[in-house]
């Protein structure tokens, strides 16, 4: 290293040091610790003869118990089902909205604001609002259905409807994604459309042959973000249903949280966290692998 390089190296490290320290303390060490804990029995309150709490190594016992745990499979299934319901619906709705909002029409700004606003609403507040909308007797939906003579379901109070209802309400917050899609749509060069039109392509063909392929990098980015977010879903079901009725909305992260902080099995919860991490990494890697086939990068 020349002296200039060394000087830059020190300077650079100094500037990024806040993040570096934070990364070590709040990411690297905790991730390592949680891997270690996942092989331990650790209850936070359990004290040894010296009055100290500590994690005791128990080998692969947590993982062995986890793979025999019915709740593990149940919460995994619920989370997966929720993802399958809400992810594609969310993508379709947000792309559709973005396409409509991209059209040069009057009142665009107002439309855009209204679609975007719900994504600003704090999760607890939106949970409250939707609990009220879903209320079996006094809720808006069932009162509306009652006016046309239909006895609505109990929504989040009915084990068949609860999960779809949660997925449905997740659409309310797509505003963020819509904005990202809109920005992506702006990036598509006009001449592509013009060329397609000269070739005699109709609106549908333009959508499938120009818009969607050109938008695919943005779709891919949103897919990955949504995947990571959806597989960790916690606050909404936790607040709205507490995982019920009959655990039909009991999600993986809620089970993990309860294992750790209600049942004080930190080791077991850490094992769960690692399984979750591996699943998310696996799915993301899979998405990257398939992306070669459907994501088109401009100028590449």
């Amino acid at each position: 290293m020349s002296s200039r390089e060394r000087q830059n190296f020190v300077k650079g490290l100094l500037f990024v040091s806040p993040w570096l320290i934070g990364f070590l303390v709040f990411t690297l060490v905790p991730v390592g610790l949680s891997l270690y804990y996942s092989f331990c029995d650790f209850s936070l309150i359990e004290r040894d003869t010296a009055g100290k709490t500590q994690a005791i190594w128990v080998g692969t016992e947590n993982y062995r118990q986890l793979f025999q745990d019915r709740e593990f499979y149940r919460t995994l299934k619920n989370t997966g089902l929720y993802a399958i319901l809400s992810l594609p619906a969310g993508m379709l709705v947000s792309i559709g909205l973005a396409l409509m909002l991209n059209a040069p029409i009057r009142g665009q700004a107002i439309y855009r604001t209204i679609i975007f606003l719900p994504s600003l609403v704090p999760v607890v507040a939106s949970a409250m609002v939707w609990m009220w909308l879903f209320n079996a007797r006094l809720g808006f939906f069932n009162q509306l259905l009652a006016t046309i003579g239909i006895d609505g379901p109990a929504w989040i109070g009915d084990k068949k409807w609860a999960l779809p209802a949660l997925a449905m309400m997740s659409l309310w917050g797509v505003g963020n994604t819509v904005v990202i899609y809109l920005a992506g749509l702006q990036d598509i060069p006009r001449d592509l459309y013009e060329a397609a039109e000269i070739d005699g392509a109709g609106a549908i063909r333009r959508l499938f042959n120009v818009t969607l392929p050109m938008l695919s990098p943005v779709i891919f980015f949103n897919l990955i973000m949504a995947l990571i977010g959806t597989l960790q879903v916690f606050a909404l079901p936790f607040i709205m249903t507490g995982g019920g009725p009959e655990r039909s909305t009991y999600m993986y992260t809620q089970y993990l949280y309860e294992k750790a902080f209600a049942y004080l099995q930190m080791g077991y919860a850490s094992a769960m966290a690692w399984v979750q991490l591996l699943i998310i990494l696996g799915l993301t890697a899979f998405a990257f692998w398939t992306s070669k086939r459907w994501v088109h990068y401009q100028g590449r």
């Binding site: 029995d41 309150i45 007797r137």
Partner: protein, 394 residues
């Protein structure tokens, strides 16, 4: 560093005690002359685990049947025609069912306008229903769950008879329209549910939220001039022990709950901390504290003044229940929080008519056993690896 004193719900005491997190208090208590005879049996029993004392009760509660006397008396003739006495509380579960049916008001679509009794209104103590059927949930000696005992199953067959009779949809409609607890529109206070299993705090809530129900005859200010026995007539509501399934063998059954004070292991000043615990346990302090909370006293000795000046007109009912041999605390399995969640699921399945009580309880028994075995396995491994397990397999 742990704090010197901590407060817990009684139901969490065993979880902490069994994990070695609490200081045994027997010696400190003995120094202050606090022992078994200081307390009513249920409240002494709930603070002990495996022969050691781990906490002292601060404010206790006993759950009883609260019923709307006014609604009952309005149906006086119907009650008498059915051979029931509307001037006293129901004497058995069967009688309570008869009351409930008479008090129910439903419209032509089957919607509930007034419910006589609903196991889930508010349903906080639904998991203790087997107590009233002579059922046992957990045997600490053998470390066995008893969810499939005939008595426990019978208890839940009774619970399930309500959704079966009234309809699942009507119940969900009723509860989703119910005003929240602590508001004047909550069903018992508003008079839309005539009987509930509730605690002594109802005395405060009734007066705050529907004062008229506490001044049926004379204003509250002059109530003290009524003879003591006549005091209850001033109230549109009454409280009595929830009747048992078989009242000849079981009387004054109740779930006894409490907030407890305890000293964490490793606390810096256990002696000083216990000074405070002993202070709270002094009869006059205890009575003042629980009078304020509208609750009975956990102590064996109770002054006449406490009963006379107590804000709850039915305090003597609560005192009687608290002293009863059938007052039972939360079960003492070391992983109660987790078992309680499984239990809650089973009750959901029963109340939503997804499973028969026998099926649901059989499944629960298996789940609970599996969770407990997993716990024992981890404890055993702890012992192997570090010798610090606080509990070994029986």
């Amino acid at each position: 560093m742990p704090p010197d004193i901590a407060g817990l719900w009684q139901r969490d005491l065993v979880a902490f005690a069994s994990r070695n997190a609490l200081l045994p208090l027997d010696e400190l208590a003995a120094e202050h002359g606090i022992g078994q005879s200081t307390y009513k049996p249920a409240f002494w029993e709930m603070c002990n685990y495996k022969g050691k004392l781990y906490g002292v009760v601060s404010t206790p509660a006993t759950m009883g049947l609260h019923y709307n006397r006014r609604s009952v008396l309005e149906l006086g003739e119907k009650f008498q025609a059915a051979g029931l006495d509307p001037t006293r509380a129901p004497k058995s579960i069967a009688e309570l069912d008869q009351w409930a049916k008479l008090l129910d008001i439903r419209d032509d679509r089957g919607a509930i306008r007034r419910a006589g009794y609903l196991p889930k209104e508010p349903g906080w103590y639904i998991s203790f229903t087997p107590f009233w059927f002579g059922g046992q949930l957990w045997n600490p000696e053998t470390a066995e769950f008893h969810f499939t005992d005939p008595n426990t199953i019978r208890a839940f067959e009774w619970i399930q008879s309500y959704p079966k009779r009234l309809g699942k949809a009507a119940l969900s409609d009723f509860s989703s329209a119910a005003g929240g607890f602590g508001t004047p529109n909550s069903p018992f206070i508003a008079g839309t549910c005539s009987m509930v299993l509730q605690g002594p705090w109802m005395g405060n809530y009734m007066y705050q939220l529907r004062p008229a129900s506490c001044e049926w005859v004379v204003p509250r200010g002059v109530e003290m001039f009524l003879p003591r026995t006549a005091r209850a007539f001033n109230y549109e509501w009454a409280a009595e022990a929830m009747p048992a399934d078989d009242p000849t063998s079981l009387t004054d059954v109740t779930f006894a709950d409490a907030d407890v004070l305890l000293i964490p292991r490793g606390a810096a000043h256990p002696k000083e901390a216990f000074e405070f615990l002993a202070f709270v346990t002094r009869q006059d302090v205890m009575e003042r504290l629980n009078s304020m909370h509208c609750k009975p006293s956990p102590l064996a000795k109770v002054s006449d003044d406490f009963i006379r000046k107590h804000p709850n007109p039915y305090i003597s009912v609560h005192e009687r229940m608290a002293f009863s041999p059938n007052a039972r605390p939360q079960i003492k399995s070391p992983m109660q929080a987790e078992i309680a969640a499984e239990y809650e699921l089973a009750i959901d399945e029963i109340y939503l008519l997804s499973k028969t009580p026998r099926q649901s309880m059989t499944d629960l028994q298996k789940r609970a056993r599996a969770k407990y075995d997993a716990h024992l396995k981890r404890q055993a491994l702890r012992q192997v690896h570090a010798g610090t397990a606080s509990e070994s397999a029986p």
